[in-house]
Amino acid sequence: MGRHNRKAPWPLLFPSTGILVLMALLPLGALIFFSLLPDNPRPGMVIQLALVNYYKIFTKPLYLTLIWKSMRIGLLVTISCIAIAWPAAYGLAKVINERWRQTWLMSTIVPFLTSQLLLIYAIMVLLQAKGPVMSLLGFVGLAKSDTSILFTPKAVLFVLVYEYLPYMILSFYSTIQKIPDSLFEAARSLGAGRWRIFWSILFPLCLPAILLGVVLVFIPVVGSFVEPQILGGPDGMMIGSVINDQFSVVYDWGLGAALSFVLLLMLIIITLIFNILAGFATRRIEGETTS
């Protein structure tokens, strides 16, 4: 008697399916519907669908500029996270003492379980004028201690890298940890140098980690609005800020829904492109090594 021929898995799945449909799938569908409404819905309104909101998005340069800017920030943060996390995760998985590994690893999820707002606030405390970092820089003579990068776009970049770094570390760790040491040893004994080992072994095997990193870091970063609002100052605005404004300041729900949908669609397309590229690269590398 195996697991699969026992009957009736479906009743067990009803509650979660119901919640997922009601609070995730239906809402994402509703986003499309609301984005086609020219006015905010009122009781008794005759529903007419129109593309007014999309017309606004693609004719006013503000929205496209902000989407582009947010994508650039997302890319910059993702690349920074990869650059920091890759060597760190390699050290975590392959270099440090086995005894300490679990402790390091578990401490990585502390920021994840800590409120996003407190992390933002912690960066505020750290970077504020006359705070610890600026005092130190002032002391060394690199910057004036009563200035700060807070409330500029740089602060947003900094806090986003800080917030999403743990995801990238864990993503690389779980991939690198699965690579057997013997693979590196074999390559070394066959005379491969460091670069060769990196490009022929580590890089292709880490592509899934990069892909997961894109999902866990790039997507939420492009959609962030809290960080720009608190730390970004007047120039720090991202597309998320404008979307949020449509729901909490100007109450133009249709435009907000349309912007959200355009953003979501672009993120899905980018993820798919990454997926295809990663698959392509993997096949190419495999072809090279087998031929």
Partner: protein, 257 residues
């Protein structure tokens, strides 16, 4: 090379923990503006508990996250038990659907949920808040419990059945005990995620109702507050406690994602 990697690792983790450490340090510093020199005080903790008036928001957040975590643990476990019985490919598909709420940016999800609850006549309400948090915490329970069940040998359950135990007895005396640490881990993850789900709470909380993250949001917009340091320190200690408990329950960090 090893030394370089170790140093890199050390610096990375210093970067991750320096801001948190600084907040804890500043919560014990007398200066009201977070400046040096450091003078030890517990004044800000005293102010936090007497004047800051954060108790109602904290209590509301605790009630919300405990009820969400319980519900998520129950429904998530049912789901995982059901998924184990599905063919692997169908289960993978179902997992994909389950994690939609944590892959979509929460700004977009929050807005989309607000639109639906408004359309259904619920509007911003406790029901909406509860359901919204449930859907973003459910994936953690489902994934953790499902992975645990997949790893256990189905022969144990079959043996119990062959020895004459009914399906209910097998479920309560074998499946549940085997999965218990995973269910607890999932519940704990849900609790923490729900407690901190600022963006979801921001869009679904009834007007005028403030959970702790919403309260913190309003306070830190104003800027540096010494009593906020004290609150942040306490919450960071809670996070550490949660992480240690997760470790004791046998959850490894790299399996939580």
């Amino acid at each position: 090379m090893k030394v370089v990697l170790k140093t890199w690792l050390l610096i990375t983790y210093m970067f991750l923990f320096a801001p948190i450490f600084m907040v804890v340090l500043m919560s014990l510093n007398l200066s009201a503006y977070g400046t040096f020199p450091f003078v030890f005080t517990t004044k800000w903790y005293y102010i936090l508990f007497t004047e800051s008036n954060l108790f109602p928001a904290t209590w509301l957040s605790i009630k919300l996250s405990v009820s969400v975590a319980f519900t998520a643990a129950f429904i998530g476990t049912l789901t995982a038990v059901g998924m184990v019985r599905l063919p692997r490919k169908v289960a993978a598909l179902y997992t994909g659907m389950t994690i939609v709420p944590i892959v979509v940016p929460w700004l977009v999800l929050g807005i989309a949920m607000l639109l639906v609850v408004t359309f259904l006549g619920l509007g911003r309400s406790f029901t909406a808040l509860f359901l919204g948090n449930l859907v973003v915490t459910l994936p953690y329970v489902v994934l953790i419990v499902y992975n645990r069940l997949i790893d256990t040998d189905p022969a144990i359950e079959d043996a119990a059945r062959n020895l004459g135990a009914g399906p209910n007895r097998v479920f309560f005396e074998i499946t549940v005990p085997v999965a218990a640490p995973a269910i607890l881990s999932g519940a704990l993850m849900s609790l923490m995620v729900c407690f901190n789900s600022f963006v979801i709470q921001y869009f679904l909380s009834p007007f005028g109702v403030r959970t702790l993250p919403l309260e913190i949001f309003n306070l830190i917009k104003v800027g540096y507050r010494p009593d906020m340091n004290a609150l942040a320190s306490i919450l960071v200690i809670v996070s550490f406690a949660a992480v240690i408990s997760l470790g004791k329950l046998g959850s490894s960090a790299d399996k939580l994602f």
